[in-house]
């Protein structure tokens, strides 16, 4: 017989802990990504398959360079959050869970930074 109240037994045992903050940040990123994605589809996606000179010229425009850097950074943050949500839902092994969470977070961080740096390098004159 446990001499504890139901409340005392469950306090601090919730699975999410700071779930509302993660939820809110994910929505914030998605709102920012709406105009950035449309701009990317309009201005950057058509450059794929184009010449090197065209790509270099496109990122000389500050608007294109800044929007693309923001798009890449926020998209990878959004991807990291989304992957985390999917991983915690479907992966149950403790070791597997930690390895996947850490590796996806670090990969997203690295790729986001690499993409942003590449655009900045071109914009500042590669």
């Amino acid at each position: 017989m446990e001499y504890k109240t139901d409340m005392g037994r469950v306090i601090g045992l919730g699975s999410a802990k700071d779930g509302t903050r993660e939820w809110w940040i994910h929505r914030l990123q998605s709102v920012a990504l709406v105009p950035l994605t449309l701009y990317f589809i309009w201005k950057v996606a058509p450059l794929i398959g184009g010449s090197h000179a065209e790509v270099i010229a496109a990122f000389q425009s500050p608007l294109t360079a800044i929007s693309t850097i923001l798009f890449i950074m926020i998209a990878f943050m959004h991807l990291a959050g989304g992957l985390q949500e999917v991983i915690v839902d479907y992966v149950h092994g403790k070791a597997c869970l930690v390895i996947l969470l850490v590796s996806t977070k670090l990969l997203c961080l690295g790729l986001g930074f690499a993409g942003a740096f590449a655009v900045a390098k071109i914009a500042f004159g590669a």
């Binding site: 890449i72 989304g82 590449a118």
Partner: protein, 130 residues
């Protein structure tokens, strides 16, 4: 009193019981498109890195992205991007508690399916013309 029925509670019907509905399909497809776009995200970063490295390396990566396999991934991801964008907007609207009537749930689900296909076709046509 502690919960004596722990682990023996009745479960609500799960996906294998339900007849497929449009909103459960759009929900999981939104997740799948989000995860699937990881590949295109890596390709785009590779392409940008190549553009910032040298003209000859750019030509190589550009060639990989415009090979039949590269284009398959990119055009697939274009649809995934439109679907995820529209699905995300729909979720943002629903976060305000709007559109939960059965009629609007069904209509919204089909709307993003149709709109994502139309926008994908339209953007591919625009890419081909300009």
């Amino acid at each position: 009193m502690a919960d004596v029925n722990r682990g023996k509670r009745p479960l609500s019907p799960h996906i294998s019981i339900y007849r497929p509905q449009i909103n459960m399909v759009t929900s999981i497809v939104n997740r799948i498109t989000g995860v699937a776009m990881s590949l295109a995200a890596v390709l785009i970063v590779w392409w940008l890195l190549a553009a910032s490295t040298s003209s000859s390396y750019f030509d190589f990566v550009n060639g990989v992205l415009t090979s039949w396999f590269g284009l398959l991934v990119l055009f697939g991801s274009l649809w995934a991007l439109w679907f995820h964008l529209l699905g995300g907007l729909r979720h943002l609207i629903m976060d305000f508690g709007i559109g939960y009537d059965l009629k609007w749930v069904d209509l919204g689900g089909w709307a993003i399916v149709v709109a994502s296909l139309v926008l994908t076709a339209a953007s591919i046509i625009c890419l081909a013309i300009f």
